[in-house]
């Protein structure tokens, strides 16, 4: 079985967001880029599976749509243990565009893993779109994924519970926190090995955008916090009830 992990390149989660001049994107000066945290969970689980089922899983490949600036992120994925990286050389502007690009390479992988969300535009969209483009089954909010003979044992969160499923391949699994143990820090050995692993760059196919960002703005600033004395908890309850009207 070959596994494909979709990798997004996003600003570090502690980044203070500043906008570009026309307010349609962020000012990327000084931004540190990381693997989208949910995609990193997916990658970690893929590595765990490959270690546990060396015979059944032949390779783990990571793919991304982005400019050459996203290569450090892919190289990190290689250092963590992925066998190969593919970069589709185009700016990732919209989920539809990204999914159509990935569709050209994704079909051959029996299992595709995607993160449930991206910490930049919080789209939750690429994985599902890709599954539909490939006309394959998808499961979302996956918190457990394991091999069972030639099938996949999946645990997913449903709204108000959990479900165990037995799925056949090909499958696209959209994963969330809990899927993997701790995310991995690349080891020196892995960093060395990444030097010789392939990072393939592919030209984009003709596609279009389904959405566009017109404007970004900062959320309205909150009024100052109203402090209540520690020994006057009753007053807090009164304020919540009478002033905020939320109790």
């Amino acid at each position: 079985m070959k596994i494909l992990v979709l990798i997004g390149n996003v600003p570090d989660t502690t980044t203070k967001i500043k906008f570009n001049a026309d307010q349609t994107g962020i000012d990327t000066a000084g931004v540190q880029w990381i693997i989208n945290p949910w995609d990193e969970f997916a990658l970690t689980r893929a590595m765990e599976l490959k270690e546990a089922y060396a015979g059944a899983i032949s390779s783990v490949v990571v793919a991304n749509v982005g400019s050459s600036q996203t290569e450090p992120t892919l190289r990190k994925a290689l250092a963590v243990g992925a066998d190969k990286a593919i970069r589709i050389d185009a700016e990732a502007k919209d989920a539809f565009f990204v999914a159509t690009q990935l569709a050209q390479i994704a079909g051959e992988y029996e299992l595709i893993l995607a993160g449930i969300e991206a910490s930049d535009y919080n789209g939750s969209a690429v994985g599902g779109m890709l599954a539909e483009l490939l006309d394959r089954s998808s499961v979302s909010a996956v918190t457990g994924l394991d091999l069972k003979d030639d099938k996949l044992l999946v645990t997913r969160e449903i709204d108000g519970g959990n479900q165990h499923l037995l799925c056949t391949t090909p499958l696209l699994a959209i994963v969330q926190k809990g899927i993997a143990k701790e995310v991995r820090i690349p080891a020196m050995r892995g960093i060395m090995m990444a030097r010789t692993k392939p990072l393939e760059v592919i030209a984009p196919v003709e596609s279009s955008y389904a959405t566009s960002i017109q404007k970004l703005e900062l959320p309205p600033t909150k009024a100052a916090c109203k402090m209540v004395a520690e020994d006057n908890v009753k007053e807090l309850v009164r304020l919540l009830k009478e002033e905020a009207k939320v109790l």
């Binding site: 990190k76 250092a79 820090i185 690349p186 080891a187 020196m188 050995r189 960093i191 030097r195």
Partner: protein, 379 residues
């Protein structure tokens, strides 16, 4: 000139940073309070390859350059200098010494498990009567034909108890003074070795420091590093490289304190505004930042020279003296910026200040570095 780090160097820096900020931070206060050895972190950092970063991969090392090592040391030291001194001793004293001067037998048997971090090492040079002045070694290794018989005492030995492998500097021919000094590699478990009590230190409290006593300890001939009489040159060469590690440690203490001071100054309010908006604080931060940047450049320059195979002894002395001295200044200022909070352990900066003090003392005091630097000027 090129000040850009490679993608790989950035990845190593980030890896060290991630480990420090995610893992070391968790129990650093507790280990400082109880002076407990960070065994699980040594194991984890070994698995990541940080215990033998610069050793040739064929001896289980990471095959990375000295610049990467400086970057890693800085990141680890921002959070936990006790851990980083263990890394530093193992990398730049023990592994470096064996990698550069050991023979094939020694590399196979001693270097491999040290470079993989499966075992850790200690470097035994200082003596009760010979700290900065390494020429007057009192520990004697007497030639007994197929082995040496070692007697004497070593002091202030980092990793003394947790190490499995010792690199020992001892006198084989007292008449020849420093030209009669020889280096050895040996097992800590060799009969006749005993440890003094755990030193109760001011800082770096989670690394273990002891004196080590040798009483009729037999050391096989094949454990001698280089020829008889090579020991002093060996020790001086190793310390040249070791200084880069401690300089980077001091740098990390300073830059870690600066990061905390900046964050605190933006958060803490006084007279109706963040204290960072008061020039008294802002200018302090500015002075600290310049010092940190200077120290970083000195460290990287020394590492760069070493990586190019050029002489780096003076550069590493400059880096160590300057970084150690500004580490003391910057951590002290960070405590000052934190005010009362800076004086309590929860805010970390008082610990960084205690730890910074040692960087001015060990692996050559600031004064010794000035001797090295001034001699090179006056030669």
């Amino acid at each position: 000139m090129n000040f850009e780090l490679t993608e790989e160097q950035l990845m190593i820096q980030q890896a060290a940073r991630d480990y420090a900020q995610r893992e070391l931070i968790q129990d650093v206060l507790e280990r400082d309070a109880n002076a407990t050895f960070p065994a699980k972190h040594v194991k984890a950092l070994a698995e990541l390859g940080f215990m033998g970063m610069m050793v040739d991969p064929k001896y289980n090392g990471g095959g990375m350059d000295t610049i990467s090592y400086v970057l890693a040391m800085e990141e680890l030291s921002k959070i936990d200098a006790s851990m980083s001194v263990i890394v530093s001793v193992n990398n730049s004293l023990v592994c470096y010494g064996l990698d550069k001067y050991g023979d094939e037998f020694q590399k196979e048997n001693f270097l491999k498990p040290l470079a993989s971090g499966e075992k850790i090492g200690a470097f035994l040079l200082s003596e009760p009567e010979a700290g900065s002045d390494a020429t007057s070694q009192r520990t004697i290794a007497e030639d007994k034909g197929d082995h040496y018989l070692v007697n004497g005492t070593k002091n202030w030995i980092t990793n003394a108890n947790s190490a499995s492998t010792y690199i020992l500097i001892a006198q084989t021919d007292p008449a020849k003074k420093h030209k009669g000094i020889t280096a050895f590699v040996l097992d800590k478990n060799s009969p006749g070795i005993s440890l003094g009590p755990h030193e109760d230190k001011m800082g770096m409290r989670s690394s273990d420091t002891h004196s080590v006593m040798f009483t009729d300890v037999k050391v096989p001939k094949e454990n001698r590093i280089g020829e008889e009489g090579f020991g002093f040159t060996f020790a001086m060469k190793i310390l040249e490289g070791g200084r880069i590690g401690i300089a980077a440690q001091a740098l990390g203490l300073a830059s870690g304190a600066l990061e905390r001071a900046v964050a605190y100054a933006k958060e803490r309010k006084a007279f109706g505004t963040a204290i960072a908006n008061h020039q008294a604080i802002a200018f302090k931060l500015s002075d600290m930042a310049v010092k940190v940047e200077n120290a970083r450049n000195l460290c990287l320059k020394a590492a760069w020279l070493k990586d190019k195979g050029e002489a780096f002894g003076v550069a590493s002395a400059m880096a160590k003296q300057y970084a150690a001295d500004i580490a003391m200044e910057v951590t002290t200022e960070a405590v000052q910026i934190h005010g009362g909070y800076g004086y309590v352990k929860e805010y970390h900066v008082e610990r960084l200040m205690r730890e910074a003090k040692l960087t001015q003392i060990y692996e050559g005091t600031s004064e010794i570095q000035k001797i090295v630097i001034s001699r090179s000027l006056l030669r």
